[in-house]
C-alpha cells in the first residue's frame, strides 16, 4: 500500500503544474490532464480499498517516516500513515473529486479560465490527499493551509464578482483564525514531546508529557483548526459565503471533503482529548448542528440552504466525536460526503438549467439560485430530481438510506452520553432538534424546486436536463447513498453493522490517569442507546417531512403568514443571527480602525514629530549655535569687531589726512611741542 502513496500527491501536483503553465495551449484546454491524474488516483484508491476488504483487518497499518531536515539535535520527521481510515478517506476524496472533475467538464464548458479551474481542482486534490496521508501534525498543518489556498482560489474563481472576491478572502482569513489555534496546539505538543509524529505525540502524552490542564488546552487549540476548517460555530461564517464559487467546487470542497478535514483531524486526534476538551467539542458540534439548521429553514438561495445544512451536519460529526462516538462521526463523514456531494451537484444541475433558461430569455437580472423562482421542474429534469430526492432522503435520515444509519449512530452516541452525564441533556436535544429541522428544510427545498409552479412559466419551458457528463456523477453518488453500500456483507437497514464498523474500530484514549472512558465502555453505552435513539430519530424525521408536506406541498398554511407570526425567530434565522454583522461591527471594523490609527500614529505622529523631532531639535540647536552664537556673536561681534573698530577709527581720523605736507608738518610740530611739554614736566 505504501508504494501507492506518493502517486496520490505527485499526480495531482503534476497536473496542477501542467495546467498552470501549459493548460491553455493543450488540446481541450487540458481538462484530460487533471481528469487522468485524478482518475489514476481513483483507480489506486479503489485498489487499496479492495486490498483492505480482502485483508479485513481492523488494525491494519503501514507507516513510514523520513527526515525532512535536521538542525543538529533537532530532527524534523514527516511521513505517511496508511490505515483503514486513510484508505476510506482517500477513496472518498478520489471518488468525489473524480466525479466532480467529470461533472465540471459540462458545467464549466464555456468558462474562459477553464484550464485554470482544473488546475485548481488538482491542487485541491493534492493538498487533501496530503492531509489524509500525513502521519504528523506539521505536514497536516501545511496541507491544511494548502487546501485553504485552493479553497481561496476556487471560491474566488469568478473574481470579477466582488462578492466572490470577498468570500474567498473571508474564507481564508476565518480559516486562519482557526489555524492559529491549531498552530499553537502543535507548538504545545512539540514542546512537550519534541516531535510532530502522531505516534511520538501519543506515546509522549501517554507518558504524561503534558499535565492534564495543559493537555486540555493543547487539545482544544488543535480543535480550533477544526472549528475553522469544518465551519463550526463561531467560525462558520465563511462556508455559506463560499457558495460564491462554482457549484461543483461547493460539492467537492465545501460539502464532501475539505470541510470534513476538520472532523478528520479531530477524529485522528481523538485519543489526545481530555474529558473536558471533549465536552467543549461536543457542545461546539451540538450548537453548530442546531444553529445552522435553524438558519437553513428560512434561506431562499438553494446553495445557501445546502451550505447551512453542511454546517449543521458537520456539527453532528463533531458532536459525535465529542460524545465519544467518534467512529459514528467518521461514518457520518463518509456517508455525508456522498449524499451531500450529490445534493450540491443536483443543485448545480438545477442552477445550470435555470441559468441557461434565463440566458435564452435574455433575463440577466433574475437570480438562477433563488428557489422562489423555481418550481415544477420535476417533469423537466427527471434524473436530477430522482437523484436529488434520494440524497434528500438520506440526509433527512429516512430508513434504507445511508444517512439514516450514520445519523442514528451519532444520536445513539449522544443519547448514551447524556444518560451517563445527565447534566448534558442539551446535547441529544440539539441532535434531535436538528434532525427534525433537517428533514423539514430539505423537503422544503425539494418542494419549492421541483413541485408547484415557477415564478415565470416561460422559464420552465426552457428548462432542459443537463448533459450526461453531469448526470452520470449524480447517479453514481445517489447510488452511494443507499444503506447497503456501507453494511455489506450484512443486509439490515436498521443496523450499521457491516464492513465499515468492522474495519474502523475505536481505540482507547492515551490521556493518562484513565480519566476517559475506554472504547469498550463507549461502545457498550451506544449499543444500549441504539433502539430508543432510532425510534426518536424516525419520529422526528417524519415529523419534519410531514411539516414540509403540509406547508410547502399541500400549502395548508401559508409560509409567509407563519413567518409573520414568528417574526423574531424568523428574522434571526433569516439574517443568520446577525453573526456576520456582529463580527463586522466588533471585530473587523475595530481592527481596521486600529490599523489605521496605528498607521497614522506611526507615520504622521511618531515619525513626523518624535523621530523628526530629533532632527528638528538638532536643527534648532544648530541654528542657535551656528547662526546666533557662531555667526551673530562670535564672528560678527568679536572677530569682525576688530576690523570694524579699526574701520571706525580710521573713518574718524581720516580728515587729518589732507594730502598737504604743510598740514602734516603742523601736526609734527604739534607733536614735538607736546613731547617738549611732557619732557618739561
Amino acid at each position: 500500500m505504501m508504494t501507492f502513496a506518493p502517486y496520490f500527491l505527485i499526480l495531482p501536483l503534476a497536473a496542477f503544474a501542467i495546467q498552470i503553465f501549459f493548460g491553455k495551449r493543450l488540446p481541450r484546454k487540458g481538462d484530460w490532464v487533471s481528469i487522468t491524474a485524478v482518475g489514476t488516483t481513483l483507480c489506486l484508491a479503489i485498489a487499496m480499498f479492495v486490498m483492505m476488504l480482502f485483508l479485513y483487518e481492523p488494525g491494519a497499518k503501514a507507516e513510514q517516516s523520513f527526515e525532512w531536515f535536521n538542525l543538529g539535535e533537532l530532527s524534523v520527521k514527516i511521513g505517511v500513515l496508511i490505515d483503514n481510515v486513510t484508505v476510506i478517506m482517500l477513496l472518498v476524496v478520489a471518488l468525489v473529486s473524480g466525479l466532480v472533475h467529470l461533472y465540471s467538464v459540462g458545467y464549466m464548458k464555456d468558462d474562459p479560465r477553464y484550464s485554470r479551474y482544473f488546475g485548481y481542482l488538482s491542487l485541491f486534490t493534492f493538498s487533501m490527499n496530503g492531509i489524509i496521508l500525513s502521519n504528523n501534525l506539521l505536514s497536516i498543518y501545511m496541507f491544511w493551509e494548502l487546501v485553504g489556498l485552493s479553497s481561496y482560489l476556487l471560491i474566488g474563481f469568478w473574481f470579477e464578482k466582488d462578492s466572490a472576491a470577498n468570500a474567498s478572502k473571508k474564507a481564508f482569513l476565518v480559516n486562519r483564525v482557526g489555524d492559529i489555534g491549531m498552530f499553537i496546539g502543535i507548538m504545545l505538543f512539540f514542546t512537550a514531546t519534541g516531535s510532530f509524529l502522531f505516534s511520538d505525540i501519543f506515546a509522549g502524552v501517554a507518558a504524561g508529557a503534558l499535565p492534564l490542564p495543559l493537555l486540555t488546552v493543547a487539545g482544544l487549540c488543535l480543535f480550533a483548526g477544526a472549528i475553522g476548517k469544518s465551519a463550526q460555530v463561531p467560525l462558520h461564517v465563511w462556508l455559506p459565503d463560499a457558495m460564491e464559487g462554482p457549484t461543483p467546487v461547493s460539492a467537492l470542497i465545501h460539502a464532501a471533503t475539505m470541510v470534513a478535514a476538520g472532523v478528520y483531524l479531530t477524529f485522528r486526534m481523538f485519543p489526545l482529548f481530555t474529558p473536558e476538551a471533549l465536552t467543549v467539542i461536543a457542545y461546539v458540534g451540538g450548537v453548530t448542528a442546531i444553529f445552522a439548521a435553524i438558519i437553513a429553514v428560512t434561506q431562499n438561495d438553494i446553495k445557501r440552504v445546502l451550505a447551512y445544512s453542511t454546517v449543521s451536519q458537520l456539527g453532528y460529526m463533531v458532536m459525535a466525536i465529542g460524545t465519544g462516538a467518534y467512529v459514528a462521526g467518521f461514518f457520518h463523514l463518509t456517508t455525508h460526503a456522498a449524499f451531500k456531494a450529490a445534493l450540491f451537484l443536483c443543485s448545480g444541475s438545477v442552477i445550470h438549467a435555470m441559468h441557461h433558461a434565463y440566458h435564452k430569455l435574455g433575463d440577466h437580472d433574475s437570480d438562477p439560485q433563488d428557489m422562489r423562482n423555481m418550481g415544477g421542474m420535476k417533469s423537466k429534469m427527471k434524473i436530477t430530481f430522482l437523484t436529488m430526492f434520494m440524497a434528500t432522503l438520506a440526509l433527512s435520515g429516512v430508513p434504507f438510506m445511508s444517512g439514516f444509519l450514520s445519523k442514528d449512530a451519532i444520536l445513539a452516541g449522544t443519547l448514551s452520553f447524556a444518560t451517563h452525564h445527565p447534566e448534558h441533556f442539551l446535547l441529544p436535544l440539539f441532535g434531535f432538534g436538528a434532525a427534525l429541522l433537517t428533514a423539514f428544510y430539505m423537503f422544503r427545498l425539494i418542494f419549492m424546486t421541483f413541485y408547484g409552479k415557477p415564478a415565470k412559466q416561460e422559464v420552465l419551458d426552457n428548462i432542459h436536463e443537463s448533459p450526461a457528463t453531469m448526470t452520470t456523477p449524480l447517479i453514481v453518488l445517489a447510488t452511494l447513498s443507499i444503506f447497503i453500500v456501507y453494511t455489506l456483507p450484512y443486509i439490515n437497514p436498521f443496523s450499521d453493522h457491516g464492513w465499515f464498523t468492522d474495519l474502523i474500530v475505536a481505540t482507547n484514549s492515551v490521556v493518562p490517569q484513565h480519566v476517559n472512558p475506554s472504547a469498550h465502555e463507549i461502545a457498550e453505552g451506544i449499543h444500549h442507546a441504539h433502539l430508543p435513539a432510532m425510534i426518536i430519530s424516525l419520529i422526528v424525521a417524519f415529523t419534519g417531512i410531514a411539516l414540509a408536506v403540509v406547508i410547502y406541498l399541500k400549502k395548508k398554511f401559508s409560509a409567509e403568514k407563519l413567518a409573520k407570526n414568528l417574526a423574531l425567530p424568523y428574522k434571526l434565522s433569516f439574517n443568520k443571527f446577525f453573526v456576520d454583522e456582529i463580527y463586522d461591527r466588533f471585530l473587523i471594523n475595530p481592527t481596521i480602525k486600529l490599523a489605521k490609527a496605528v498607521g497614522f500614529f506611526d507615520w504622521e505622529i511618531y515619525d513626523k514629530y518624535f523621530i523628526n523631532g530629533f532632527g528638528r531639535i538638532t536643527e534648532r540647536l544648530s541654528r542657535f549655535i551656528g547662526i546666533t552664537m557662531d555667526y551673530d556673536v562670535l564672528d560678527q561681534q568679536i572677530v569682525d569687531g576688530v576690523g570694524k573698530s579699526t574701520r571706525f577709527f580710521g573713518g574718524a581720523l581720516k580728515f587729518i589726512q589732507t594730502g598737504k605736507i604743510q598740514n602734516y608738518l603742523v601736526w609734527v610740530l604739534g607733536g614735538i611741542i607736546i613731547i617738549f611739554i611732557i619732557q618739561a614736566m
Binding site: Q657, G659, K660, Q662, L669
Partner: protein, 101 residues
C-alpha cells in the same frame, strides 16, 4: 644773557620764520625759501656752538656742508617745482594733493 644766547636766539627766530614760511606759504618757491631760512638758522647755530663751545673747526665745516647742501637742495627743489608746474600748471603746493587718496 651771554653771547651764545644771542646767537641762538637769532637762530631760533630764523628757524621759526623759516618754519612759518614752510607751513603757510602756498607758493612752492616761497616754501623753498622757508626751507633755506631753516637751513641757515642751523648754520648760525653750528657756527655759534663752534665758537663758544670750545670745539675746533668741525662746526664751521658742518656749516660749509649745509651751505653746499642747501645749494644742491635748492637746485633739486626748483627742479621739482618746475615739474610740479608742468604737471599741475601751478606752483601752488595746495593743489598738489595726490598723497590724499
Amino acid at each position: 644773557m651771554n653771547d651764545l644766547n644771542i646767537y641762538l636766539t637769532v637762530g631760533a627766530i630764523l628757524f621759526s620764520l623759516g618754519l612759518y614760511g614752510v607751513i603757510t606759504r602756498r607758493n612752492g618757491v616761497a616754501v623753498l625759501m622757508g626751507v633755506e631760512l631753516i637751513l641757515n638758522s642751523a648754520n648760525v647755530n653750528f657756527v655759534a656752538f663752534a665758537r663758544f663751545g670750545g670745539m675746533n673747526l668741525s662746526g664751521h665745516i658742518f656749516a660749509m656742508f649745509v651751505i653746499i647742501l642747501a645749494a644742491a637742495e635748492a637746485a633739486v627743489a626748483l627742479a621739482i617745482i618746475i615739474n610740479l608746474y608742468n604737471k599741475f600748471g601751478t606752483v601752488n603746493v595746495d593743489d598738489a594733493r595726490s598723497l590724499k587718496q
